[in-house]
Amino acid sequence: MNIVTNNHLEGVNSKALAKARRKEGRLFFNLSLPSLITILIVVFIPVFWLSSLSFFDRAGVFSWENYDRIFQSQLYIKTFIVTLKISFITLFFCILLGYPLCYWLSQLPDRLAGILMVFVLLPFWTSILVRTYAWLVILQRNGIINDTLISIGWIDEPLQLAHNLTGSIIGMVHILLPFFILPLFASMRSIDTNFIRAAISLGSTPRGAFWRVFFKMSLPGFFAGTVLVFVLALGTYVTPALLGGGKIQMLAQRIDSTIMLYSNWGAASALGVVLLILAFATIWIFNRAFGIDKLFMR
């Protein structure tokens, strides 16, 4: 029926209509120009300019020497390894803590799940500095964790929890966990539980139905959360700077100190380019598989 009507329209004015729609689209695209231009000027151009510095040597001639240098320097190699290590460990704990929570929430009645989500949104809306400071207080030598463990006699000496790798990872998991939970929860929410009932009534075990149906259907949200956590972890600056006690140097801080302390723009820029490539490769794969709009959705 529909097809017939469309064919009929095509005979009359569909070309003009399509043209008018395209024209309207172009006209309305202009409304988004102020935002896009602001982003272009403040984000794209400066980042592009900074990246371009890596392709020139100190005399201003095109060369790969900055890349040669960063991949030969033990210091920079170590920074890459630490950054990837922390990012993967953070991601691991976000999945470990986030997936069961989302699964549990998605099985609760809507109203209750909505109320409990406030506990996820609260840290999401709270300053990263405040949250990092709170962990500094909790994890310090005479902090609440060490005091409790000593008073119940589990340990004699305070554990070194802050100012090292452990502290950095705890802080980063806390800060990035909501970025994993929000897309995953939205994804699980939209799964129709009848599919799982159907799988079981067709002979699947509950465990089999969970993995083959529910888990598979939650994958878009799972990967959206994974990409967000991993990409944001790669570029983290604040948390390891405060909870790492100067011992943990991730890429972002290394870039900062390479410029601010050593004025080595070429090397810092090359580090930045590698960081961007890592981040965008991750996003690109996700975009091919699911589409970029799934990254921040509903």
Partner: protein, 271 residues
């Protein structure tokens, strides 16, 4: 049959799953709140639970002209950022809903990039752009930088709101003689106002809590509170920070509660 019951909604009998869930919710929300009792401590170092209580850290915060100046800077910057980013982002979201899917997807990619690009690269890049323009350490400079970081959140929020809106209502208004701007202002705007308000609050919080770009482009007379806090945290753990943090938590909680109330009103309106 029992198996079907087991996975049925509301019949989850996995107690351990609930225990894990509750624990994770605790880990997410409780640690931050520890700074509230700490801020009322009477001791000059951090102890928990505090043995004596006082307002001395609030006095030290509100009595310090430096802290007060950077608080004013941060609030002014956040306010101006919200004022600019909200209309810009809302217009962009409205415009993008009418464009072809290809243009929309490309624009969305452009819009989410500021959130995903490592912020240190933006900070260093903007710092040097501003050095050429003389915008470093100026309110204008900080507001422009924060606007470009806040606009994506407004666009994402309003786009989500527009997705649930039936544009036929606007078409109906226009077919009844309303001009396009009038249809937008009187029919569409009131129905997506909750998402615009949510976007505005997100923009405010994004600016108020922004650290890394502020570290580079703010300073001197116009140092933001986050810049001052970061430097002070790197040096030593000063309990004044607990008092400031408590104030910031209060702002965040108020913003979140407002958003929740918006959402509830919206759901009420729609049903």
């Amino acid at each position: 049959m029992a198996a079907i019951e087991m996975v049925g909604k509301r019949k989850n009998n996995n107690i351990w799953l609930g225990v894990v869930g509750v624990c994770v919710l605790f880990i997410l929300s409780l640690p931050t709140l520890i700074v509230i009792p700490m801020s009322f401590s009477g001791a000059s170092y951090l102890e928990f639970p505090p043995e004596s209580w006082s307002f001395r850290w609030y006095e030290s915060y509100f009595g310090s002209s430096e802290w007060m100046r950077s608080t004013k800077t941060s609030l002014l910057v956040a306010f101006l950022t919200t004022l600019i980013a909200t209309p810009l982002g809302s217009l962009a979201a409205y415009g993008l809903t009418f464009t072809s899917a290809r243009v929309r997807n490309a624009s969305q990619l452009l819009v989410v990039i500021p959130i995903l690009v490592p912020v240190i690269l933006i900070a260093i890049g903007v710092f040097h752009l501003y050095a050429k323009l003389g915008l470093n350490y100026t309110i204008t400079g900080i507001v422009i930088a924060h606007t470009s970081l806040a606009v994506p959140f407004v666009i994402i929020t309003v786009l989500a709101g527009l997705k649930n809106y039936d544009f036929n209502q606007e078409l109906a208004a226009r077919s009844l003689g309303a001009s396009r701007p009038r249809a937008l202002l009187t029919i569409t705007l009131p129905q997506v106002k909750f998402s615009i308000q949510t976007g505005a609050l997100l923009a405010f919080i994004t600016s108020l809590d922004e650290v890394v770009v502020s570290m580079f482009v703010s300073g001197g007379e116009n140092a933001t509170i986050t810049r001052r806090m970061f430097n002070s945290l790197r040096d030593q753990v000063d309990p004044t920070i607990a008092a400031i943090s408590t104030c910031l938590i209060f702002v965040s909680v108020s913003a979140l509660v407002t958003v929740i109330i918006f959402n509830r009103n919206q759901n009420k309106d729609q049903s």
